[in-house]
C-alpha cells in the first residue's frame, strides 16, 4: 500500500447529540470518530505517517502492543433514574481498561509504563494506578472491537475515583482531534461553560474494527484491521426554559471541520412530534430515526457540511423554547445503587442494589466489584436476595486481595427477576494501615471504585444488527449482536470509607514507650539472672572509706 492510498482511507466523523429533558436540562453528547487504516501490527512495519489519527496515541499503541484502550475522565455522577441511560457510560473519576495483544510477554510492565505515558498525555495523575488498584476481570470487560481472544490475562482494568477533571485535562484531549478546537463542533468545547455542568465526562476509546467499504478483500479485512478512535464528551447542563447554543457553550457553530466526512447535530424531538412541548429553531427539514438503547427516537438533523444550514448569518445558533410541561421519561430498565452500612471504624457492610424495571422479562447481569485490599472482605457473608428470597448467583469469580499487592475482585452473574430489586451485601473489616500509607487528609476517607453492572437488556424495539457507515455514531458505539437486546453498562456510586487512623504526631514517642516496656522486661530478667542474693552488709561512710584507703597505702590494719 502506498502512502497516498493509506492517506485516502483515513476518515473523520463528528456529531453532537442534544437531548432536552422536561426539567429544562440538556444532555449534550459530542462524538468524534477517526478511522485509521493501518497494518503496523505486522512484523517489521513501522508507521511514520499520521494524518488524522493523533500521533501521540498511535505511538503509544505500537510501543505497548495495545489492542484496545478505553480511558475516561468524569466529574459528577450520572443519575440514571432521573436522566435516563447515557449513550456511553463512565464512572466518576478516571477509568482505564486496556486489552493487550497476546504477543506481550510482560503485561504488568507494559501496563505500568502505559499508565505513566497516558498520565503525561492527558495531564492526569494516572501514575497512581499500580498493582494495588488494578484487576483482571474475567467476564465483565470483553473486547468491544475485533477479535475473539478472551484470555483475561491480557486485560487490565483500573479506576481512580478520586481523580478530578479540569481544564488541564480538556486541553490535551482537544489536541487529539484533527481540527483541534478551531473548526467544526469542537469550537463549542469551551472550558468555562463546559465545567459548569452537573456531569462532565470525556473519554477516548480505541479499538480495532472491520472496514465495511466495498471493494476490499475479506482476507485483507482480517489481516489489517482499522483502528477506530472514538472521542466523546458527555455533559449534562441545567438550563432554564429557553436555551440556545450560545447560552450553553458561549459560541455558535460557523463551519464544519474541513477534514470531516460528516459533521452533524442531532436534536432529540421524539417527545415533541407536533411541536406542543417545545419549539426548535431554526427549523430543519431533515429528520432521522434511530434505535438507541432499546428505544426508537426521532432526531432533527443539522448537517454542517451543507452551507444552507448556517443561513444568512453564516452561523448556526440552535434555539429551543419550552412551551408546555409534562411528558414522562422512559424509565431505564436497569439501574444500580451502592452504599456502605454499619457504624464505627471496625466493620461495615457494602450493599449493592440492582433494580430490574422490566415488567415481565428476567435477565442476567454481571456484577463486578473491585474493593481495595485495606477493606478485608468476608466472602462467606455474601448474600444476594431478590424480593426477600435468596438468589444464588450462577457464576462467582472471586480473587481475594493480598495486602499491599492487589485488590479484591468479585464477579457474579445474577439473574434478576422481572420488576424487582436485588440486594447484594457483603461484610468487610477495616484495616489499620502504616502511618505512611495514609493520604494527606486521612479523615476524608478512602475511595472505593464504582461497581460495574453489565447486562444484555431485553429491548422493546428491534435493534438493527447491520453496522453500516450511515448510522449515527451514538447509536453504533457498541456492536449489536442480536435484535432483541442491547448492551448496557451501569456504574454505581463510588464509596467513601473511613479507616481508623493512628496518631500521626507520635512515631518517636511510640518507639520510645514501647522500647521502654520491652527494656523493663529485659532489665528485670537480667537482674534476676545475673545477680545472686547476698546479705546486705552496710557500707562504710565516706570518711572511713577514705581513711581505709590511706591505711592500705601505709600497710596498717583497716577500719570496719
Amino acid at each position: 500500500m502506498g502512502i497516498t492510498a493509506a492517506a485516502a482511507r483515513d476518515e473523520f466523523q463528528e456529531e453532537l447529540v442534544i437531548r432536552p429533558l422536561h426539567s429544562g436540562d440538556i444532555y449534550a453528547s459530542f462524538q468524534f470518530r477517526t478511522l485509521w487504516d493501518t497494518d503496523f501490527l505486522q512484523e517489521g512495519q513501522k508507521v511514520s505517517h499520521y494524518r488524522l489519527f493523533p500521533k501521540s496515541l498511535g505511538q503509544v499503541l505500537s510501543k505497548f502492543s495495545v489492542r484496545e484502550l478505553h480511558i475516561s475522565f468524569t466529574q459528577g455522577f450520572w443519575r440514571t433514574m432521573q436522566w435516563g441511560q447515557p449513550f456511553i457510560p463512565s464512572p466518576p473519576g478516571a477509568e482505564l481498561w486496556v486489552w493487550f495483544h497476546d504477543t506481550v510477554s510482560d503485561v504488568d510492565g507494559n501496563w505500568k509504563e502505559l499508565t505513566n505515558v497516558l498520565s503525561g498525555i492527558f495531564c492526569a495523575s494516572l501514575n497512581f494506578i499500580d498493582l494495588t488498584n488494578t484487576v483482571q476481570p474475567s467476564a465483565s470487560f470483553k473486547p468491544l472491537g475485533l477479535g475473539n481472544a478472551t484470555d483475561h490475562r491480557f486485560l487490565r482494568y483500573a479506576t481512580l475515583p478520586r481523580e478530578i477533571v479540569c481544564t488541564e485535562n480538556l486541553t490535551p484531549w482537544k489536541k487529539l482531534l484533527p481540527c483541534g478546537s478551531k473548526a467544526g463542533l469542537a469550537v463549542l468545547l469551551k472550558s468555562e461553560k463546559l465545567f459548569h455542568s452537573s456531569f462532565h465526562s470525556q473519554a477516548v476509546h480505541i479499538r480495532p474494527v472491520c472496514q465495511h467499504k466495498n471493494g476490499l478483500d475479506f482476507a485483507k479485512i482480517l489481516d489489517a484491521p482499522s483502528f477506530c478512535i472514538h472521542l466523546c464528551i458527555n455533559c449534562y447542563l441545567h438550563l432554564f426554559t429557553e436555551w440556545s447554543l450560545f447560552k450553553m457553550f458561549s459560541r455558535t457553530l460557523t463551519e464544519a471541520c474541513p477534514l470531516a466526512t460528516s459533521s452533524k447535530v442531532y436534536v432529540d424531538i421524539t417527545d415533541n412530534p407536533e411541536g406542543e412541548l417545545f419549539e426548535l429553531s431554526p427549523a430543519t427539514p431533515l429528520l432521522s430515526q434511530a434505535v438507541v438503547l432499546g428505544d426508537r427516537r426521532t432526531y432533527s438533523v443539522f448537517d454542517l457540511t451543507r452551507a444552507e444550514t448556517f443561513g444568512q448569518l453564516r452561523s448556526l445558533n440552535l434555539l429551543l423554547r419550552w412551551k408546555g410541561d409534562g411528558g414522562e421519561m422512559l424509565r431505564p430498565l436497569l439501574h444500580a445503587e451502592r452504599y456502605v452500612a454499619g457504624f464505627g471504624l471496625q466493620t461495615g457492610e457494602i450493599h449493592t442494589v440492582i433494580y430490574n424495571n422490566h415488567p415481565y422479562r428476567a435477565f442476567p447481569v454481571l456484577l463486578m466489584d473491585s474493593v481495595p485490599w485495606y477493606l478485608q472482605l468476608y466472602i462467606h457473608t455474601l448474600t444476594v436476595t431478590s424480593k426477600s428470597r435468596d438468589n444464588k448467583p450462577s457464576y462467582i469469580h472471586y480473587q481475594p486481595a493480598k495486602d499491599r499487592h492487589r485488590p479484591h475482585l468479585l464477579e457474579m452473574l445474577i439473574q434478576l427477576p422481572p420488576h424487582s430489586m436485588t440486594e447484594v451485601t457483603v461484610q468487610f473489616e477495616r484495616a489499620l494501615l502504616k502511618w505512611t500509607e495514609y493520604t494527606p487528609d486521612p479523615n476524608h476517607g478512602f475511595y472505593v471504585g464504582s461497581s460495574v453492572v453489565s447486562a444484555l437488556v431485553p429491548s422493546m424495539v428491534a435493534m438493527s444488527t447491520n453496522f453500516t457507515q450511515d448510522q449515527p455514531l451514538f447509536s453504533s458505539f457498541v456492536p449489536v449482536k442480536e435484535e432483541s437486546s442491547y448492551f448496557v453498562r451501569v456504574y454505581t456510586e463510588p464509596l467513601l470509607v473511613n479507616l481508623p487512623t493512628p496518631d500521626f504526631s507520635m512515631p518517636y514517642n511510640v518507639i520510645c514507650l514501647t522500647c521502654t516496656v520491652v527494656a523493663v522486661g529485659y532489665g528485670s530478667f537480667y537482674n534476676l539472672l545475673t545477680r545472686t542474693f547476698q546479705v546486705d552488709e552496710p557500707s562504710l561512710p565516706l570518711a572511713k572509706r577514705l581513711a581505709n584507703l590511706i591505711r592500705r597505702i601505709r600497710g596498717v590494719p583497716l577500719l570496719t
Partner: protein, 435 residues
C-alpha cells in the same frame, strides 16, 4: 479428687453453653482482645468458604491457620462449639494431672532432701506439706476453666483454645516421662504457632533430670539423649509439615502462616506491643525492629535455662509467660494459660513484692480495654493513643507479675540453702538484696 474435678467441668461447660446461646457470643467473637488475625473464628469460616469456592485459602491475606485446622474443621465445623468446650476441658484435665504429678515429684524430692539433712534448721516453715498441696491441682484447673479470659476465648471460638490444649497435653506428657509423645506434641504445638519452640529446652532439662543425666556439655550421655529428643522433635515436625503439603498440594501455607507470624504485616490492634509500634515505624527501620522484637521472644531461653536448670517446670511457666507477652499477635487466651499455673506457686506468696499493684493494674486494664476501644472506634472521642497506653500498661503489669514470681522463686531457693532468718556479721537481722 475426681468428683470435684467433674463438678468443676460441669460448671465450666454450663457457663460456656449459656454464653454461647446468648447474644453476647456475637459481640465477644469480634473483640480484638480476644481474637487476632491468626486465630479468629470468622477467618476459619472464611477460609473454608474460599475452599468451597475453589480458591486456595492462602491466596488472599485473610486465612492464617495451618492446614491441620482445615483438616479438622472441614468435618466438625457444625459442632465447633462442642469442639472448643472439649478443648478447654482437655486443657484443664491435662493441667490437673500434670500439676498432680509435679507435686508428687516435689514432695518426694523434699523428703529425700530432708532425710539427707540438706535444709538448714530454721527454714522448716518453708517446706511444703501434703495438706497444703492437696487442693493445688484442682485450683489450677479452676484457675484455667473459670478464668474470664478463658471463657471469653472459648465463647469467641478462638483457635487459641486448641493451641492451649496441645501445649497442656505436651506438659502432661513431659511430666509423665514419655519422651516420644512429648516430642510429637511439641512439634504439633510449634507447627501451630512457632513460639512453643522455646519449650524444647525446659522439656529437655526435665527429661535429663528425670533420667539422672547430668547437664554437662562434655558428657556423651547428655548429647546422646539430647540428639534423641531433638530427632523425635524435628522428625515429627517434618512429618507434620509434609502432611500439610499434601492437603492443598502447595507450600503456600508457609509464607501465609509462618511468614505472617514473623513479618507482622497486619496491624490490627490487639493487646500486644507490636501493632502500634509497626504502625508508627519509619519504613527504613522496619526490618531491623521486626528482627529485634522476634529475637526478644527467643532470647531469654538460654539464660533462663542455665539459671533454672534444676527447676524445669518453673522454666516452662516462665517460657509460656514470655511467649504470651512478647509474641506478635497475643490474645487473652494466651495470658490465661500461664495464669493457670499461679496456684502451683502459692507457697511463694510470702516473697512476692508487688502482687497487689500487679493485680490492680491487670484488673484495671482488663476493664479499660473495651471502654477505650469503644471511645476510639465507635464514639470517635478518643484516638488510638488511649488504647495503646492501656496496652503498654497491661504488658507492663504482666512483666511485673512474671518477674515478681521469678524473684520469689529464686529467693525461696536461696533461703532453702542458706536459711530463712539470716543475720549480718554483727548479729542483727539482715536484708537480702540482689547484687
Amino acid at each position: 479428687m475426681a468428683a470435684p474435678l467433674t463438678l468443676l467441668l460441669i460448671v465450666a461447660v454450663t457457663i460456656r453453653a449459656v454464653l454461647f446461646r446468648s447474644s453476647w457470643a456475637e459481640l465477644i467473637s469480634e473483640r480484638v482482645e480476644v481474637v487476632s488475625p491468626l486465630n479468629a473464628w470468622k477467618r476459619v469460616v472464611e477460609g473454608l468458604a474460599l475452599l468451597d469456592l475453589g480458591v486456595s485459602p492462602y491466596s488472599g491475606d485473610v486465612f492464617h491457620e495451618t492446614p491441620f485446622m482445615i483438616y479438622l474443621f472441614h468435618f466438625v465445623v457444625d459442632y465447633a462449639e462442642i469442639v472448643f468446650m472439649i478443648a478447654d476441658g482437655i486443657t484443664a484435665v491435662a493441667l490437673y494431672l500434670s500439676i498432680q504429678t509435679y507435686n508428687k515429684n516435689v514432695f518426694r524430692k523434699q523428703k529425700y532432701a530432708l532425710e539427707s539433712d540438706r535444709y538448714p534448721a530454721d527454714c522448716l516453715e518453708l517446706l511444703r506439706s501434703p495438706k497444703e498441696m492437696f487442693y493445688i491441682p484442682l485450683k489450677v484447673a479452676m484457675f484455667y476453666l473459670l478464668n474470664p479470659f478463658t471463657i471469653l476465648s472459648c465463647v469467641a471460638k478462638s483457635t487459641c483454645g486448641l493451641n492451649n490444649a496441645i501445649i497442656a497435653l505436651f506438659i502432661l506428657c513431659t511430666l509423665k516421662g514419655s519422651a516420644l509423645l512429648s516430642g510429637i506434641l511439641l512439634a504439633l504445638a510449634t507447627y501451630q504457632s512457632i513460639y512453643p519452640l522455646t519449650l524444647f529446652a525446659p522439656a529437655l532439662l526435665f527429661f535429663l533430670q528425670r533420667l539422672y543425666i547430668p547437664v554437662n556439655l562434655r558428657r556423651s550421655s547428655f548429647w546422646f539423649f539430647t540428639l534423641q529428643y531433638a530427632f523425635i522433635y524435628v522428625g515429627s515436625l517434618v512429618v507434620i509439615t509434609g502432611l500439610s503439603f499434601f492437603l492443598l498440594g502447595s507450600w503456600d501455607f508457609i509464607p501465609s502462616v509462618y511468614g505472617f507470624i514473623f513479618s507482622v504485616p497486619d496491624l490490627t490492634p490487639n493487646i500486644g506491643l507490636f501493632w502500634y509500634f509497626f504502625a508508627e515505624m519509619f519504613e527504613h527501620f522496619r526490618l531491623f525492629f521486626i528482627c529485634v522484637f522476634q529475637i526478644n521472644v527467643f532470647f531469654y531461653t538460654i539464660p533462663l535455662s542455665i539459671k533454672l536448670k534444676e527447676h524445669p517446670v518453673f522454666l516452662i511457666f516462665m517460657q509460656i509467660a514470655i511467649i504470651s507477652i512478647f509474641k506478635s499477635y497475643p490474645t487473652v487466651g494466651d495470658v490465661a494459660l500461664y495464669m493457670a499455673f499461679l496456684p502451683a506457686w502459692s507457697h511463694l506468696y510470702r516473697f512476692l513484692r508487688n502482687i497487689f499493684l500487679v493485680s490492680c493494674v491487670l484488673l484495671a486494664c482488663s476493664a479499660l480495654f473495651p471502654v477505650l476501644w469503644h471511645l476510639w472506634i465507635y464514639a470517635g472521642s478518643a484516638n488510638s493513643n488511649f488504647y495503646y497506653a492501656i496496652t503498654l500498661l497491661f504488658n507492663f503489669g504482666q512483666i511485673l507479675l512474671v518477674s515478681d514470681y521469678f524473684y520469689a522463686y529464686l529467693r525461696r531457693e536461696h533461703h532453702l540453702t542458706h536459711g530463712l532468718y539470716l543475720k549480718k556479721k554483727d548479729g542483727t537481722e539482715a536484708t537480702l538484696v540482689l547484687k
